[in-house]
Amino acid sequence: MADTAVPLEAGAETAHRPGLLKRILFHNLPAKIAALPMMATVLVVFVGCTIWTVYYSFTNSKLLPTGKFVGFDQYERLFQTSRWNVSVTNLVAYGAMSLVFTLVIGFILAVLIDQKIRFESAFRTIMLYPFALSFIVTGLVWQWIMNPTLGLQGTLRNLGWSNFSFDWIANPRMVLFAMLIAGLWHGTGFCMVLMLAGLRGVDEEVWKAARVDGIPTWRTYVSIVIPMMRGVLITAIVILGSGIVRLYDLVVALTNGGPGISSEVPAKYVFNYMFSGGNIGQGLAAATMMLLTVLIIMVPWAYLEFGGKGKRT
């Protein structure tokens, strides 16, 4: 079979060489037709909307996207706005802490659960529950808990512990940590389940080999198991990272950006300017900056991850 198929294929190729373009177009035509809706969606929704966003960020559009071209004016104004600058700083600080702590705590929880404990599936389910809730619910719940008069602080003071103090949510210097608590509560369970799947994917014989080699357990995790979990780690970082960049609903429900502007985030800035501030140009400029930041991080990484592959193998 294979013997005859190869020369046939080669013959067909030489015969069709002049019509290369035609071949590219019509080769495997049904598959291309089937992919058309998807391609159209990508072109219109992703590429089209992105171009639209970038274009109108250079206009002075107010309530409607009709303004005239004003160059970089919107961007100049953006970076002179302290609310935007605070938003960016907040996102970087919150994002870094949330990413690191979610991964570390998620991994540690997964390692603990991996010790063949009893009621494992019950634990897993409980830990995963917060992730099933929307950020709005998470935010509201933690807003009640951390509310100085109604929540934990008020309750403990009413019980007689009169100098107990837990007012992070109302304290501009601590409000990010209040957000962090809610964010971790929401995300670590999910991270743990992902990590657990990764840990379970490690061949038991690798563990045995490491024991025979006399490698301590912690060292086996650090030097052997974690490198083997690369795929899971990347998945977790991408999912957590995209959640961090579009962080909006948690802030709205928990602090609504307050006190003052101390817990503002970029997505909230975009939303406020576009839909309630009536300044589409400014909102779109902010959105473009967010996109640009994501691209600056993603493109080199994607290039390293996928671009170099052909050379490596």
């Binding site: 061949d203 014989e205 690798v206 045995k208 080999a209 490491a210 024991r211 025979v212 080699d213 006399g214 490698i215 301590p216 060292r219 030097s223 052997i224 490198p227 083997m228 690369r230 193998t313």
Partner: protein, 360 residues
């Protein structure tokens, strides 16, 4: 003489499941022992107990005269090779070999020396900078053997090291393991379910069934004087022919009344009176035509199936109403329906007590 590995009264339970019970095994210095048995009979469990990867429920293990029952694997003086290779995938071959030594804090030049020696013995020098993903199965298993080698230990443990390889590689690597043993003269304990591997490699084979060693002997004895029906049926391919009947003095009577004289058989203890028994004859101990002139029992049989295997031919027939296979040279023309004379070489056969299944 001091034993290299000595297992005394070893028991191991998983919860209520008793996998090994009161198992005893003494292995001499430099001996190549194969643990052979079907899947699930407890071979890996026994090997993991020796390695210290499982805590024994009862009994003791000595390695090099030292009681190691409660020592960590790394302190037992063993190296181990696994079926799935169990290499560290994100490390180069060189690092796979040296990682354990580095963690143990060995001096750099000593590590380099050992890695170089292992690489030379296993001929993996060109692979030292590759990652396991870029190696073939045979190369990976070589690296895994190398990782045991650099530990410079007295006892090597192999858990089905060739089972993930294809047939050609398997026979190549089998020879290499044998060569390695001849060169290093270490004690080796080798687990397999493949009888060819067992027969070709072992100094002694321990045949296991349900966690019990059925017979521990050199391959020749295992093959020619199986101690019970299970061992007789497990070893040999195609397997031994079995004819059930009774034995009385020097006469074996098959179920259908066929009488076979067994005076030439070397009884361990001649049965008193009549006894239900099973006669076992290997396919190559059944002779065809003139070759059968000198054997104690001859009969005429009709050929039912002929399987030419290249170097020899396997033929199926019936004796005493029971299907029987025999081997003969492929030069002899055999056709289905031929009536041929075949003879049993009783002296090389086996007789078993039908109730206890032990050799008579």
């Amino acid at each position: 003489m001091q034993h290299s590995v000595s297992i005394k009264d070893l028991s191991l339970n998983f919860g209520n499941v008793k996998v090994l019970e009161h198992l005893n095994l003494d292995i001499a210095q430099g001996e190549f022992i194969v643990l052979l048995g079907p899947s699930g009979c407890g071979k890996s469990t026994l090997l993991n107990c020796i390695a210290g990867l499982l805590d024994v429920s009862d009994g003791q293990i000595f390695i090099g005269g030292k009681n190691v029952t409660w020592l960590e694997p790394k302190d037992r003086g063993i190296g181990m090779v696994f079926q799935s290779y169990a290499l560290y995938p994100q490390m180069t071959v060189e690092r796979n070999l040296s990682f354990g030594l580095r963690v143990a804090g060995m001096p750099k030049d000593e590590i380099a020396r050992r890695v170089a020696r292992a690489a030379e013995i296993l001929q993996i020098q060109p692979l030292l900078n590759r990652k396991p993903a870029n190696l073939s199965g045979g190369q990976r298993q070589r690296v895994a053997i190398g990782r045991a080698l650099v530990r410079d230990v007295d006892v090597f443990l192999f858990d089905e090291p060739l089972s993930n390889l294809d047939a050609k590689l398997r026979s190549d690597l089998r020879v290499e393991i044998k060569r390695l043993h001849q060169r290093l003269k270490n004690t080796m304990i080798y687990v397999t379910h493949d009888q060819i591997e067992a027969l070709t490699l072992a100094d002694r084979i321990a045949i296991m069934k349900n966690g019990v060693i059925q017979q521990l002997a050199d391959p020749h004895t295992i093959y020619n004087k199986p101690t019970n029906l299970y061992v007789a049926g497990f070893i040999g391919s195609p397997s031994m022919n079995f004819i059930a009947g009774t034995v009385d003095g020097t006469t074996f009577t098959a179920a259908d009344g066929t009488k076979i004289p067994v005076g030439a058989y070397d009884f361990a203890a001649a049965p008193a009176g009549s006894l239900k028994a099973v006669l076992g004859v290997r396919p190559e101990h059944i002779f065809l035509g003139e070759d059968a002139d000198d054997v104690p029992y001859r009969t005429t049989a009709e050929i039912e199936i002929v399987e030419p295997m290249g170097s020899e031919t396997l033929a199926w027939t019936k004796v005493a109403g029971i299907p029987v296979t025999f081997r003969c040279s492929s030069d002899i023309p055999l056709n289905v329906g031929d009536k041929v004379t075949i003879g049993f070489d009783i002296a090389r056969g086996s007789l078993f007590n039908a109730e206890t299944e032990n050799r008579l």
